[in-house]
């Protein structure tokens, strides 16, 4: 059709000289309008991006509060507890994924609902900002499908990122009534803060049957190797604070600890370390006498000296990431962002994305027992290697920790690689920073 219109164009000018002058201007104007219209139409029709960007118009503009409400009867079924023996070949229905030339799994997201119990009380917060970002990222990715029948993996829109914020039994019931639940087969749950007092389980306590868990702070005791995915605990500071990349090289402090809620025993050990090695070790704590208004989360103190957090992390070569009640700590993300080499002291912790990331290139893992030897262990690392670790740490943050989108896509890619192993991303692609 484009070609046809071009033919008219070439014939047009030949006709014009034969017309009367008074009509000529009129026809030329008319002709240009038609031509312009044609070009505009063509552009509009043939420019795929212009259509895509305009799809915003068609997306529903709704509020989170307007979503449908689902009432859970008290006796609605509860899934079995998570099955520790699950592996891809036993609990995952691979037939749903099929063979396709692109080797991409299809992910379906359930639409958002508000769940209430029999008395009309909310089961949990409808959705958190992070979980909304995560689902939005999946929805915008190549993995997404809106066709529930073609989906290989299902992501519930029930937000279980933080176990503290939900009612366990009712959440489980909400999961069980999802339309394709089927004992949780091929369902993926994202959780960052598992467990609760007093024993702080390292995996989400919500009964979830066969569902896969992308969990922050999983330990070797609860991790189903090759089935679950260990993910980082997202630090909201990543979005708020912009730390410019700082070149590798020596920094003011050698070891820095910035965590506020350390067990007194750990703090004693750290302070002993500081006493032995003086100025090069800095152990920060929460500030006790801050003027009102300043957010306590963004300040750290040492003997009355106030430091900005997370900026202070950039002043140190190594940053201690100790376990708290949970194994996964959001501070790991801040530390990586600052290009500080994390010294991870958390026995049995499965490091985030350890299935594909080579953490030995970006961190130092020290057994809890060896904490007193930390200084000499770190001293024995050659300077050249420290510089590479600093670069690698920052690169891990940029690629896999930076946003909920990065976390979501890395998780899906790991699952994708298990289903299409012959098309999997290689070690180098996961770990080598892009060439400078």
């Amino acid at each position: 059709i484009m070609c046809a219109s071009a033919k008219y164009n070439t014939r047009g000018p030949a006709l014009i000289p034969r017309m009367k002058t008074k009509h000529r201007i009129y026809y030329i104007t008319l002709f240009s309008i038609v031509l312009l219209g044609l070009i505009a139409t063509g552009m509009f029709q043939f420019w795929p991006h212009s259509i895509e960007s305009s799809s915003d118009w068609t997306v529903e503009k709704r509020s989170v509060h307007d979503v449908p409400v689902v009432k859970l009867p008290a006796d609605s079924p509860i899934p079995e507890r998570g099955d520790l023996s699950c592996r891809m070949h036993t609990c995952f229905d691979v037939y749903r994924c099929g063979f396709n030339p692109k080797n991409k799994i299809k992910v379906y997201i359930y639409s958002l609902k508000k769940y209430v119990d029999e008395y009309g009380t909310l089961v949990s917060n409808t959705i958190s900002r992070e979980y909304n970002e995560l689902l939005m990222a999946i929805s915008d990715s190549e993995f997404y499908t809106d066709d529930v029948n073609r989906a290989c993996l299902f992501v519930p829109s029930i937000d279980v990122l933080n176990q503290n914020a939900l009612r366990i039994k009712e959440t489980a019931q909400a999961l069980a009534q999802l339309s394709r639940w089927d004992r949780g087969t091929n369902h993926l749950l994202f959780n960052m803060l598992p467990g609760g007092p007093p024993d702080y389980n390292t995996a989400l306590d919500v009964p979830r049957d066969r569902a896969l868990l992308a969990g922050g702070g999983i330990s070797t005791w609860t991790y189903r190797q090759g089935y679950d995915v260990s993910i980082p605990v997202y630090s909201p500071l990543s979005g708020e604070v912009d730390l410019p990349e700082r070149g590798p090289g020596p920094r003011r402090y050698f070891i820095l600890s910035s965590q506020m809620a350390l067990h007194p025993e750990y703090r004693l050990e750290l302070e002993a370390l500081q006493a032995d090695n003086g100025e090069s070790v800095l152990i920060l704590d929460k500030c006790t006498n801050l003027s009102d208004g300043a957010p306590a989360a963004r300040k750290r103190c040492y003997k009355g000296q106030v430091f900005d957090y997370p900026q202070v992390l950039q002043e140190s070569t190594f940053c201690v990431v100790l376990r708290g009640a949970r194994l996964g700590q959001a501070v790991l993300s801040d530390v990586l962002q600052a290009g500080c080499v994390p010294v991870i002291i958390a026995d049995s912790y499965i490091l985030p994305f350890s299935e594909v990331l080579d953490w030995k290139r970006a961190s130092v893992v020290i057994p809890e027992e060896k904490m007193p030897e930390m200084y000499s262990i770190l001293q024995s690392i050659p300077q050249r290697q420290i510089e590479e670790m600093q670069r690698q740490a920052r690169w891990f943050w940029e690629a896999y920790f930076r946003s909920m989108k990065a976390i979501a896509l890395a998780t899906l890619q790991i699952i994708n690689d298990r289903i299409y192993p012959y098309a999997a991303i290689s070690y180098e692609e996961w770990n080598d920073p892009p060439a400078v």
Partner: protein
């Protein structure tokens, strides 16, 4: 005229409208099919109030995770240790690290019991451990214990099954609930279930087991080893079969399998289906039911036809001529086929759901094998067809690397197991996944030397590093006189004249103490004197004084000129993993005597470069002293003539490449050789009768025996400077003095 214009105008208008409403839409749907779909799909809604949503946890909550009233970490760890659960062991709960702190990683093997002979395979495993540098005969200094009872075959129907293991173990005073023990096993369970059980209580012992399934595997604690046949060589081992790359890397067949089909029982599901993908052309998948005693009782309608087809192809022929090989589970998860395919550079396509792959803690199997799903057998032909030729080539090459680095002999399998366990003891001083999966492999990379790839001679090209621009001259002084001899003074002069020389280290191996500082010649570079013992192997000790990557190894009577040093160093910078030197010798196979021969005659080949004047990487000092067991060094010291042969053999075993000879000044050729062999009575050649010559000959033989093969590689190459001996003005040449 007017009508014509009107029509024209109308045609325009009509075509415009048509284009707008139908044409464009149709066309666009055709051309941008997916794009349109993307636009139409229902994506996750952009909530109007999404910016008002609350965070999943407020910053305070994230940073104040946990409350101090929790049990103290020390108590928690102590509780964990006393918590006896063999099904749930991890290093930090079931392994006593303190045993390894005092004496390092030492392995003790229980003495074998009288009247209870072990199987040939277990004998090989035990002797591999005894050959390892970690072996200790004293249990009190051991960190890891290996049983003397043969636990390889735990199928109680088998002839090698050892009874009453439980009782025996409980009788061992060192058993200690299995703590710090490592138990090797190849066959577990029995007909019909073939479960993973061993038939005795392993307690807190680690398992190194073949056919491990992911569910009973205790991550970070157990080790999965490959199944290997009893003919597997103790040491050395055969090479892989990929001698040269073919591009494109296609072989006659795409995918092959030839093996048993189980009519009943576990594993039959997978093996029964294999014949479906057989197409008789490029995919050959043959099964037979003809095995076992009573196969005819269970036989089905396919059996007879299958058996006929089965005989038409030869397994070895298929293995040699196929790009991919199916490695399905047998009764157990692992099979011999896995190592066979790996050696044959036939890319394994694994059909063994839930198999914890051998050494998966260290090895990245995604680079060498296709891990397929038993359930998706029928997708395999199309999946492997879609793999790009360059990836196929990379797969093939990687199979060869893994075979040679970790699997080709029992020694390698056992040593890899030990190294994996050792790496767990100090996570901060362990090999990264990169080091395990790049040539020359994790066994040859000592994390005690460094954990940074740039400190080793192997990764310069790959990682974009370059070796240091300076070298250390390392001179071994042995002269009996208390003063400095003339040659050593001349040598220091010549070497320090080189612009690349960073320091001179003198190893003082004399009975008399070294002369005082003032007696040493003035030189532009620092001279360090390190005291040495009179052992010959001492010259390859990793002295802390050596600070550069390059070492120029010298004897006090070596004679060299500055330009020779400069040129040889520039050659070494191009080949940092090899020995670069001047005087050479070579080895050959002597068919008459049926042994390796050695000659120092001028021949057209070379395989040994004398380390009395040679450049090599500092790392080889560490390998020589730490990788080789003490016994081998004692052998060398005892023979007193072949530490340089051992060094050459070691470097050749690591790199699989010959050393490099560079040109030297003509007139002193004889002289150097003569001085290199001071004990040889008649000239440099070391004629057949001389005791030194025969000692070197013996040494070469014993080394080939220890390594299990002859690692030395011959070369016919000598490197000269450009313009060397060319008919141009001497002024234009970079190394004019080489020709004088």
């Amino acid at each position: 005229m007017q009508t014509r214009k009107k029509y024209l105008f109308l045609t325009f208008l009509a075509s415009w409208l048509l284009l707008f409403f139908f044409g464009g839409d149709q066309l666009r749907r055709f051309a941008f099919f997916s794009g349109r779909k993307a636009a139409a799909r229902r994506s996750w809604p952009r909530w109007t109030d999404r910016s008002l949503l609350k965070s999943f946890a407020d910053p305070e909550e994230l940073q104040r995770d946990g409350d101090p009233s929790l049990p103290s970490p020390r108590e928690r760890r102590a509780a964990r240790l006393s918590f006896q659960r063999s099904s749930g062991c991890r290093m930090e709960t079931c392994f006593d690290f303190s045993r390894c702190e005092r004496n390092g990683f030492k392995v003790f093997t229980y003495p074998q019991e009288r009247g209870q002979p072990v199987s040939e395979t277990y004998g090989k495993i035990l002797s591999s451990i005894e050959r390892s540098r970690y072996h200790t005969p004293r249990p009190e200094e051991a960190c890891l214990f290996i049983l003397g009872i043969d636990t390889l075959d735990r199928d109680h129907l088998s002839g090698h099954y050892v009874r009453n293991v439980d009782e025996k173990i409980r009788g061992f005073p060192l058993w200690n609930g299995g703590r710090n023990h490592l138990i090797f096993n190849l066959y577990s369970g029995t007909w019909p279930g073939y479960t993973g059980e061993l038939g005795f209580d392993v307690g807190q012992a680690m398992l190194a087991k073949a056919s491990f399934d992911t569910q009973s595997f205790r991550p970070g604690f157990d080790v999965s080893i490959p199944l290997f046949p009893k003919e597997h060589p103790q040491r050395g081992g055969d090479r892989g079969w990929l001698y040269r790359d073919s591009v494109p890397p296609k072989k006659k067949y795409l995918l092959v399998f030839k093996g048993k089909r189980y009519l009943t029982g576990i594993g039959s599901g997978t093996r029964n289906a294999l014949h479906h993908i057989h197409n008789g052309k490029d995919i050959i998948s043959l099964t037979t039911c003809k095995h076992g005693k009573d196969w005819e009782k269970h036989k089905d309608t396919r059996c007879d036809k299958d058996n006929v087809d089965y005989e038409r192809f030869d397994y070895q022929e298929l293995l040699h001529n196929s790009t991919f090989c199916i490695v399905p589970r047998g009764r157990r998860l692992g099979s011999f086929r896995f190592l066979e395919a790996l050696q044959a550079a036939c890319i394994p396509v694994l059909l063994s759901d839930g198999w914890e792959l051998p050494f998966a803690e260290a090895i990245d199997w995604g680079k060498a094998a296709v891990v397929a799903s038993e359930r998706l057998l029928l997708q395999i032909p199309s999946a492997v067809r879609c793999i790009h030729p360059e990836r196929v080539l990379a797969f093939q090459q990687h199979t060869q690397f893994l075979w040679d680095a970790y699997f080709s002999s029992v020694d390698k399998i056992v040593h890899t197991t030990l190294e994996i366990i050792r790496d767990r003891l100090a996570p901060h001083r362990s090999r990264s996944r990169f080091l395990w999966n790049a040539l020359p492999g994790g066994l040859l990379v000592l994390p005690d030397f460094s954990t940074h790839p740039g400190d080793f001679p192997f990764y310069y090209l790959q990682q974009g590093y370059s070796p240091s621009k300076k070298f250390t001259a390392f001179i071994r002084a042995v002269s009996q006189a208390g003063s400095l001899s003339q040659p050593i003074l001349r040598l220091i002069q010549a070497v320090s004249g080189s612009q690349f020389c960073a320091q001179i280290v003198v190893l003082w191996s004399c009975e008399t103490p070294p002369p005082p500082r003032g007696k040493w010649p003035q030189s532009s570079v620092p001279v360090t004197i390190v005291p040495g013992t009179r052992k010959l192997s001492d010259r390859f000790f990793p002295f802390g004084a050596i600070q550069t990557d390059a070492v120029l190894s010298l004897d006090e009577d070596s004679s060299l000129s500055t330009s020779e040093v400069d040129f040889a160093f520039s050659v070494w910078r191009s080949f940092p993993e090899r020995i670069v030197g001047f005087s050479t010798q070579s080895h050959f196979w002597d068919p008459e005597q049926g042994r390796w021969g050695y000659t120092s005659k001028w021949t057209n080949e070379l395989s040994i470069v004398l380390t009395t004047t040679a450049f090599y990487h500092r790392y080889y000092h560490s390998l020589f002293t730490e990788l080789l067991p003490a016994g081998l060094r004692e052998l060398v010291d005892g023979l007193a003539a072949c530490e340089d042969i051992l060094m050459n053999v070691l470097v050749a075993a690591v790199t699989k490449l010959p050393p490099i000879k560079v040109t030297q000044r003509k007139q002193h050729k004889e002289g150097v050789a003569q001085q290199a062999d001071p004990s040889a009575p008649a000239g440099a050649e070391g004629t057949d009768g001389s005791p030194r010559f025969s000692r070197r000959q013996d040494c070469l033989d014993q080394l080939a025996d220890w390594f299990g093969y002859m690692p030395l590689v011959s070369s016919q190459l000598r490197l000269d400077p450009v313009l060397f001996k060319d008919q141009v003005s001497i002024l234009r040449k970079k190394y004019p003095s080489l020709e004088k």
